[in-house]
């Protein structure tokens, strides 16, 4: 548990903000897929911490990025934090995405809405280690497509929107980049129906596929057993056994 300092808090639009945190000490090592439990101060209706994916880590600048979607009063308060405010985090928590065995592997990262958050960190991590990946990012409209310039630093970016306001019209799984391609590894995070569609595509095309779940949580450290998902090994905590799961382990009807 650490008190971090707000270095920057940028409104990306009226629904999302990018919270950049730093510390007087060196930030701990973090892995893509992991998350933080963020304490929300000064919000009488927010009792629990908010689990938020690690969006990006810049170790040189000692920065931890969190992409915050404003859903209720708690996330609104996080979006209103000012430079030099304190933000208390329990982190890093959970497991991480699995590196492909082969550096030549064809890798696709598919994100929707705020679910793109961990994929930026994962894309940067893959590139640093000599892998190459492409991104397919989707949103309801162009306002839900975030950090596109950041993603472009780490691979080709393809987009879809439901209203056609950016990229191809439709859902991520309908994007032309997926047609006729054979990916070895697919990683996805976003709304559950989207992840299920991506998982179905992965099964059809025999790709290895990991999904990052965002079940509602209380403790974040495997103590309360509130955030479980049903797996081939029974109910497992998303906070400690996940948030990243291979689709073969999940009991999804797909």
């Amino acid at each position: 548990m650490l008190d971090l300092i707000v270095k920057k808090n940028e409104a990306l639009n009226n629904q999302y903000s990018l919270l950049i945190l730093t510390s007087s000490e060196k930030l701990p090592a973090m892995l893509p897929g992991q998350f933080a439990e963020v304490r929300v101060d000064n919000s009488p209706t927010t009792f629990l911490r908010r689990p938020i994916s690690i969006n990006y880590v810049d170790y040189e600048a000692n920065e931890l990025w969190l992409l915050v979607q404003i859903v209720g009063d708690g996330t609104r308060k996080l979006s209103e934090l000012k430079v030099d405010d304190i933000c208390n985090l329990v982190f890093p928590l959970g497991n991480s995405f699995t590196l492909p065995e082969n550096k030549d592997a064809k890798i696709l990262l598919v994100g929707g809405g705020v679910g793109i958050a961990p994929l930026l960190f994962w894309g940067s991590y893959l590139k640093e280690r000599g892998y190459s990946c492409n991104f397919v990012l989707g949103g309801r409209s162009k306002d839900n497509l975030l950090q596109l310039c950041e993603f472009e630093r780490f691979g080709n970016v393809f987009t879809t929107t439901e209203d056609g306001s950016h990229g191809e019209r439709g859902f991520v799984t309908q994007h032309s980049h997926l047609k006729g391609s054979n990916f070895d590894y697919i990683y996805t995070c976003g709304p559950t129906p989207m992840m299920k569609a991506v998982a179905a595509y992965a099964l059809q095309t025999k790709a290895n596929c990991e999904v990052s779940l965002e079940n509602t949580m209380a403790c974040g450290i495997g103590a309360c057993l509130c955030c479980v998902t049903d797996t081939t090994e029974g109910h497992l905590c998303v906070c400690t056994e996940g948030p990243v799961f291979n689709i073969t382990k999940l009991k999804w009807q797909i």
Binding site: M1, R39, P44, T45, T46, F47, L48, R49, V90, N215, T216, M217, A218, C219, G220, I221, G222, A223, C224, L225, C226, C227, V228, T229, D230, G234, H235
Partner: protein
């Protein structure tokens, strides 16, 4: 530095601060955050004779100043606890206490007999108050007759500290406390969660898979405090207070109302280090008020 030692029936505690079942795992989950040997005791996750998968997701709903849970006693059973978890927790330098639940009296008795053999488990907390299981659990804790029957049966086989965790979902909690005291309980702990529910109005659906769940957190504290006060006046055995304790001031309130020790539950989710902060805060309070021992504040409420 005041003396924080306290005895609860047959239990010797280095201080009155323990962590509540279902909020602290088995202990090691929190060892990155605090020195477990600094707290008075750990009540491990609710254990049943046989493995339980618990309820389907969603199991949790946040509420104003609290949360509802409907975990439903997910655990791997008593034998698994003994063979796989106990070896890893038995040498933690604090009291490791097992919260025991069951669907039938026979289940409670069989598991209690097994737990009685564990050298480093000085006591059990008999959970007759879980609101999230269809059979057993709270059904035992909401009538004097069934509470008496289960406590009497377990008492025959369990020789160490037998604490009984009481349900607040009753008309008169003192009656239940008196009933379990009469059957040989060494102490009582209260309160378990209050039965509640949450609705998603947009979807016109309940938020919890089980529709209802157990409310905990600061929202329940005034009720818990009132019940501890009522029970402490009614029984002679020690009372352990819990329900919404977030800090040392809350803990002290429970002790003034008559609790000999306290448990911290939901607060562990917000601040995993809160239990040691409460230990330090109680010590500061005692020093500030010139008390030499924590025993001096038990039931010291001036009405």
């Amino acid at each position: 530095m005041a003396n924080l030692n306290i005895n609860i029936g047959k239990l010797q505690l280095k201080n009155p601060v323990m962590t509540a079942s279902g909020t602290f795992g088995y202990g090691p989950e929190f060892s990155d955050f605090l020195d477990l040997s600094r707290i008075g005791g750990i009540f491990v996750k609710g254990t049943t004779l046989r493995e339980r998968q618990g309820n389907p997701y969603p199991r949790m709903a946040e509420t104003a100043s609290g949360m509802l849970n409907a975990v439903g006693l997910q655990n791997k059973g008593t034998e698994y606890f003994i063979n796989h978890i106990y070896p890893n927790v038995k040498d933690i330098n604090t009291n490791i206490l097992v919260n025991l639940s069951g669907s039938t009296i026979e289940d409670y008795v069989e598991a209690a007999e097994m737990l009685n053999e564990l050298e480093k488990v000085p006591g059990i907390e008999l959970n007759i108050s879980c609101p999230n299981v269809k059979e057993g659990g709270m059904a035992f804790g909401t009538s004097c007759l069934s509470a008496s029957q289960v406590v009497s049966a377990v008492r025959r086989v369990y020789k160490k500290e037998l604490m009984v965790k009481l349900s607040p979902n009753v008309t008169d909690i003192s009656e239940i406390a008196l009933a379990v005291e009469a059957e040989g309980a060494d102490s009582v702990s209260l309160i378990n969660t209050l039965l509640g529910m949450a609705i998603d109005s947009e979807k016109r659906k309940p938020i919890l898979s089980t529709v209802t769940g157990g409310l905990s957190g600061p929202a329940v504290k005034p009720i818990a405090l009132r019940m501890v006060w009522q029970v402490a006046k009614a029984v002679k055995i020690p009372v352990v207070g819990l329900g919404g304790i977030m800090n040392a001031a809350d803990a002290i309130e429970f002790m003034l109302a008559g609790a000999s020790a306290i448990q911290i539950g939901t607060a562990n989710f917000i601040d995993p280090t809160v239990s040691v902060k409460v230990v330090d805060g109680i010590n500061d309070y005692l020093d500030r008020h010139g008390y030499k021992s924590v025993t001096e504040i038990i039931g010291a409420l001036e009405v």
